[in-house]
């Protein structure tokens, strides 16, 4: 069993390192599409820089962005997955390993004592969110590097039902023209609609794990995704907030039922350098990576 723990730790460290250096396939495809559609000289210079950067990151084997974030994991773990008991500890170990091997920036500052741990982990970091899957022996892990710039726009509040989805619209768009400019657009925008701040907030982050171009299964929610996407683009924020036709790679809404007296709403954004990974392990640690093609761990 110890061997398996070590094996999974090593694989996760390598996967984390890879996600720091190469963007997921869906993000690259979307950025290529948006690059083609921009025509101002400034937007072109910005996109040229972005694509040259991603090429250099792979060529020189370096993190593409210096802010490699605080690591966040969304784990969907089967109750029968053999390493379930070891998972949280091994993910922490994998982050430490990746921090020195990749290298990643040291992004864990202990609160109140206010010192950088120098290992990229600390009390409660990396963050691990659990979804337990009954009767399964698989383990799915979403990895995410939450950088400071695109974490700052995060916001949640509870609206009165009278404010309706019109209130949700205003809540999201207000955030885009204030904090959104500095969060490295084109952004992936995650919106959570639920009851309270924490339910909405978790959904808004979960929404960022969904592939670009995917839609909420609810028809109205999907319609609202499209309305928000077109609306934010039409503001003219463009790449880097400097002006242009496209400011978002997409808007993903995740929702649950709500209390009749409250609409909890939250927004979370991912920057253009949206370093999200998704890997699925079976009980023998055979793996499938859905976000990045051509990776061997």
């Amino acid at each position: 069993m110890g061997d398996q723990v070590q094996k999974m730790t090593d694989m996760m460290a390598k996967f984390i390192g890879h996600t720091a250096k190469k963007l997921p396939d869906d993000v690259i495809a979307k950025l290529e599409e948006l690059r083609e559609k921009e025509d101002s000289p400034m937007a072109k210079v910005i996109y040229d820089t972005m694509f040259r950067n991603q090429e250099l990151a792979v060529k020189l084997n370096r993190p593409s962005c210096q802010d490699t974030g605080v690591l966040q994991f969304w784990v969907k773990c089967g109750t029968k997955f053999p390493l379930i008991d070891d998972l949280e500890a091994l993910l922490k170990e994998a982050v430490i390993k990746a921090t020195f091997e990749t290298p990643l920036r040291h992004n864990s500052v202990e609160t109140f004592d206010e010192y950088n741990t120098g290992k990229n982990v600390g009390k409660g970091t990396p963050t691990v969110w659990w979804d337990i899957v009954p009767h399964s022996d698989k383990c799915e892990i979403y990895t995410y590097m939450a950088g400071g710039g695109c974490t700052l726009p995060g916001h949640a509040m509870v609206l009165m039902p009278g404010e309706g989805y019109e209130g949700v619209t205003k809540f999201v768009l207000d955030r885009m023209t204030t904090y959104g400019l500095n969060a490295c657009p084109p952004l992936l925008v995650g919106v959570g609609v639920a009851t309270s701040v924490e339910t909405a907030a978790l959904l808004s982050k979960k929404a960022l794990m969904r592939p670009i171009g995917s839609h909420n299964p609810n028809e109205r929610a999907a319609q609202m995704e499209k309305l928000l996407e077109d609306g934010i683009n039409a503001i003219g924020i463009g790449p880097q907030g400097m002006g242009g036709k496209y400011a978002v790679m997409g808007v993903n809404i995740e929702n649950t039922a709500r209390h009749p007296s409250a609409i909890g709403v939250a927004v979370n954004v991912g920057c253009w350098s949206h370093r999200r990974g998704h890997i699925i392990f079976d009980k023998d640690l055979n793996y499938e990576i859905t976000t990045h093609s051509g990776v061997k761990l």
Binding site: D67, G118, T169, N182, A234, M242
Partner: protein
């Protein structure tokens, strides 16, 4: 002469004078060669609030709001390699920037996103510009670093240390505040807010799901 033109690029070479900046306007794209020092939150606080002398001379040179990834080559002899460096949100330094420019005499501030009146006033009063380098492009920026000349205030940890670099054609830098005090982002924001209100009104026609 501290302004050079090469391959269609306008390159500012340190030391830079106020005179060199006077024809530069918001929205212009320039590059930087010479002395560039990373300088962010706590370093600003030390200079402005604690009144400590900045241990790297940034007068007529440039600073970068950034926290890089550095690889030690021979740390005992002060040898480091720049692995990855990119701008961080400049707005965090807004509170300190007027005094910082006044005290240090820095000419070019590079960062991410806009800054406000404090910085715009400093740019106008002391002859300085604020530029943004497209963020998230840490390798492009790192390969412009020829050498890390020295590292000061290392007690602040890797992101906050003053990493004094010799850079070559560092950029592209998009001028967001010019030496006349014009502010690209503030002007753009007026436009964005107007369009935002129009878009909210438009979307609201279609989302009356509670009936």
């Amino acid at each position: 002469m501290s302004v050079e033109f090469r391959d269609g690029k306008k390159i500012l070479v340190t030391p830079i004078s106020a005179e060199d900046l006077k024809d530069i306007k918001i929205g212009d794209i320039v590059y930087l060669s010479g002395s560039l020092t990373t300088c962010r939150d706590v370093a600003h606080r030390r200079v402005v609030e604690e009144g400590r002398e900045i241990p790297v001379d940034v007068r007529n040179n440039a600073i970068l709001h950034a926290g890089p990834i550095i690889r030690p080559i021979d740390p005992d002899n002060g040898k480091f390699e720049m692995v990855s460096v990119g701008p961080t949100t400049s707005m965090r330094m807004e509170k300190f920037e007027y005094e910082f420019v006044k005290i240090t005499g820095v000419r070019v501030i590079v960062g991410k996103g806009g800054m406000k009146e404090n910085t715009a006033n400093a740019c106008k009063d002391f002859g300085c510009i604020h530029c943004v380098i497209p963020a998230g492009n840490a390798v492009v920026a790192a390969v412009c670093v020829e050498e890390i000349v020295k590292a000061e205030w290392r007690d602040l940890g890797m992101p906050e240390t003053l990493w004094n670099c010799r850079v070559k054609e560092f950029g592209p830098l998009i001028v967001s505040i010019d030496a006349q005090g014009r502010n690209y982002f503030e002007e753009k924001k007026v436009e964005y807010n107007k369009k935002k209100d129009e878009q909210i009104a438009e979307i609201c026609k279609h989302v009356s799901f509670i009936k």
